[in-house]
């Protein structure tokens, strides 16, 4: 018996007779995913995880709106705080319906990106949704509170979703000559500028007063350890001990690393690759140690936070070999004269 995919005509092994297929289900104009499509599929996978995390029991309770959402208002300017509080109250009072809508929207975004005919509308929808959630659900990622850190997910995971949707938008401005995948939709200059702004802001947040304080990072990591599985809280506690009373030094090093990464997109390919690797490594450390995998083990995590998104973005900036077009040469025999 042939297996599903073999028998779909892809290998040609049906009933043990190689190459005797007479019919085929495959669409004749279908193409295997290229690098950008693969990155889009990773983005869709993360959106799907978001949607299903939103289906956890806690999200259907009043506490999701009145505690989690309203909690984002703390430290924000009065006008923004009022908007967040109002939205949180409405969500809390209609917890079941509002959360069902949140799940549905994220599920549609995920499956929309994954299904080729709807990828553009889903990516556009993800940008609109991300901006809405960044504003109400994350309080603009806390960037106005002065308490955010790259370690805890500044400048907010959802804004990185929006950036990725733009960078992975399925249009081409010279696909053959684009130096990296993210350059295909916006062009290399605009894509590099977005990378610079993102990682430059990470560098800036690392130097915020609260992070420079001797116990700043230590306190953040200790707080993150609470409610995590034993192995993760032990890791957080160990790292917290290592950075205790070293807040200023660690913040300066972290800011410097982020700054190097920020300018990495403008460096030659070899140096660029090194900084991309550095970005992916730092994002991994942040995701595990600082973000606790987006707090997904607590039962109240709504997304995996910035870690995997920054890794995905790094992949979109990975320099690739650009094939130099060979100039056309005129065959000598064509113009050899007619006499």
């Amino acid at each position: 018996m042939a297996t599903t995919t073999e028998a779909m005509g892809t290998i040609g092994a049906t009933g043990g007779r190689e190459g005797v297929l007479t019919t085929d289900w495959r669409a004749p104009d279908w193409r295997a995913p290229d690098r950008r499509r693969m990155l889009q599929l990773v983005l869709a996978t993360i959106w799907l995880l978001d949607a299903v995390l939103q289906m956890q029991p806690y999200m259907f309770t009043n506490a999701f709106g009145t505690r989690m959402i309203e909690g984002m208002s703390v430290g924000n300017p009065a006008g923004l705080a009022h908007q967040i509080t109002s939205a949180g109250r409405v969500i809390g009072h209609h917890a079941m319906v509002s959360n069902a809508v949140f799940v549905l929207v994220q599920m549609l975004i995920a499956l929309g990106i994954a299904w080729r005919p709807t990828v553009k509308i889903a990516l556009a929808g993800s940008v609109a949704w991300a901006l809405f959630v960044w504003w109400i659900g994350e309080g603009l990622g806390g960037v106005l509170t002065g308490t955010e850190s790259p370690i805890t997910g500044a400048p907010g995971a959802v804004i990185v979703y929006a950036l990725l949707a733009v960078l992975l938008w399925p249009t081409d401005r010279g696909a053959a000559t684009a130096p990296f995948v993210a350059a295909r939709s916006l062009g290399a200059g605009a894509a590099r500028t977005l990378w610079l702004v993102l990682w430059g802001s990470e560098s800036y947040y690392a130097l915020q007063a609260v992070n420079r304080s001797p116990q700043g990072l230590h306190d953040v990591l200790r707080a993150m350890a609470a409610g995590q599985p034993h192995w993760l809280s032990s890791l957080d506690d160990t790292v917290a001990r290592l950075v205790a009373h070293r807040g200023l030094g660690v913040s300066i090093v972290l800011a410097a690393v982020c700054a190097v990464i920020a300018v990495g997109a403008f460096l030659p390919a070899a140096a660029g690759r090194a900084t991309i690797v550095m970005a992916a490594a730092l994002a991994t450390v942040i995701w595990v140690v600082g973000e606790g995998f987006g707090n997904v083990f607590s039962g109240s995590g709504t997304d995996p936070n910035t870690g995997p998104l920054l890794i995905l973005m790094a992949a979109a900036f990975w320099p690739r070999r650009v094939e130099t077009p060979v100039p056309e040469t005129t065959p000598s025999f064509v113009l050899s004269g007619t006499s």
Binding site: M1, A2, T3, T4, T5, E6, A7, M8, G9, T10, I11, T14, G15, G19, V20, L21, T22, T23, D24, W25, R26, A27, P28, W30, R31, A32, P33, R37, L41, V42, A44, T45, L48, L49, V52, L53, M55, Q56, P57, Y58, F60, T61, M96, A110, L111, I113, A114, W115, R116, P117, G227, Q228, P229, H230, W231, F293, V296, F297, S298, G299
Partner: protein, 244 residues
């Protein structure tokens, strides 16, 4: 903390519908003598029935021990099939089809393994519960927050969701009707015969000459099988998320 009943019941209903379709697919292929992929359909049917029972206790049809045997068997089956494929064709990609063939075994291996893992770690019976709420709370609390298995659970969730997305991308890979392969060794049937045979052979890509042309085409297309796979992966991932 309990899941909303309407959500659990809806998912259980979707699982029952999915497994019923996969069972019908098996029967139709048998009755109309169409070559089909029994391992995939059997696995999908078992996944759907088992998950419906985990979601709503009244839908349990087998004791947990029996399900553990079933999914252990399916895990071994897909592991062996995958290993044979790798031995024959290697791991390195030789085109888009190779990746899809390899991912087929991997995703079914992970699905069977994930089901086995759920039954071992968090079956309703483990908590002695026989109610919907009890079943779901058992799933939510069986592993505990201090378990090192949380990372494994998250890994399984990510692989299942990646599989769902990968298959959703491949939906446009298939047409709703078959076309003839030029230059194939067997005679190429006429257009009418092709359209009639399109549904009958399910996913085997080769309709036997005596296949019944009366079987409606659209009900056995690869797209429907892929859709079943996507729904099962998402539901399985959801149940695993409750174990995080």
């Amino acid at each position: 903390m309990l899941q909303p009943t309407w959500l659990v019941d809806t998912l259980a209903g979707v699982m029952v519908a999915t497994s019923t379709y996969c069972l019908i697919r098996l029967v139709v292929a048998r009755v109309w003598r169409r070559e089909s992929h029994r391992d995939t359909s059997v696995a999908h049917t078992a996944d759907g029935v088992a998950m419906a029972g985990m979601l709503v206790a009244s839908l349990r049809v087998l004791p947990d021990g029996a399900w553990e045997v079933v999914f252990a068997g399916l895990t071994v089956w897909f592991a062996v099939r995958g290993a044979r494929f790798v031995v024959r064709h290697g791991i390195g990609s030789a085109g888009g089809d190779h990746a899809y063939n390899l991912s087929h075994y991997l995703s079914h291996l992970v699905m069977a393994g994930a089901m086995l893992y759920m039954f071992v770690e968090a079956s309703p019976a483990a908590s002695g519960s026989t109610t919907t709420a009890g079943a779901m709370s058992a799933m939510g609390g069986a592993t505990g927050r201090s378990s090192n298995l949380g990372a494994l659970t998250l890994l399984l969730v990510l692989v299942l969701f990646a599989s769902a997305v990968w298959h959703a991308d491949s939906l446009t890979r298939f047409t709703t009707t078959r076309r003839a392969l030029v230059g194939a060794g067997a005679p190429v049937p006429s257009d009418n015969a092709l359209l009639s045979a399109a549904g009958g052979a399910g996913t085997d890509g080769h309709a036997p000459p005596d296949a019944d042309p009366a079987v409606p085409s659209r009900w056995l297309t690869p797209r429907l099988e892929t859709a079943c796979h996507i729904v099962l992966c998402i539901t399985m991932g959801y149940m695993l998320v409750l174990m995080l």
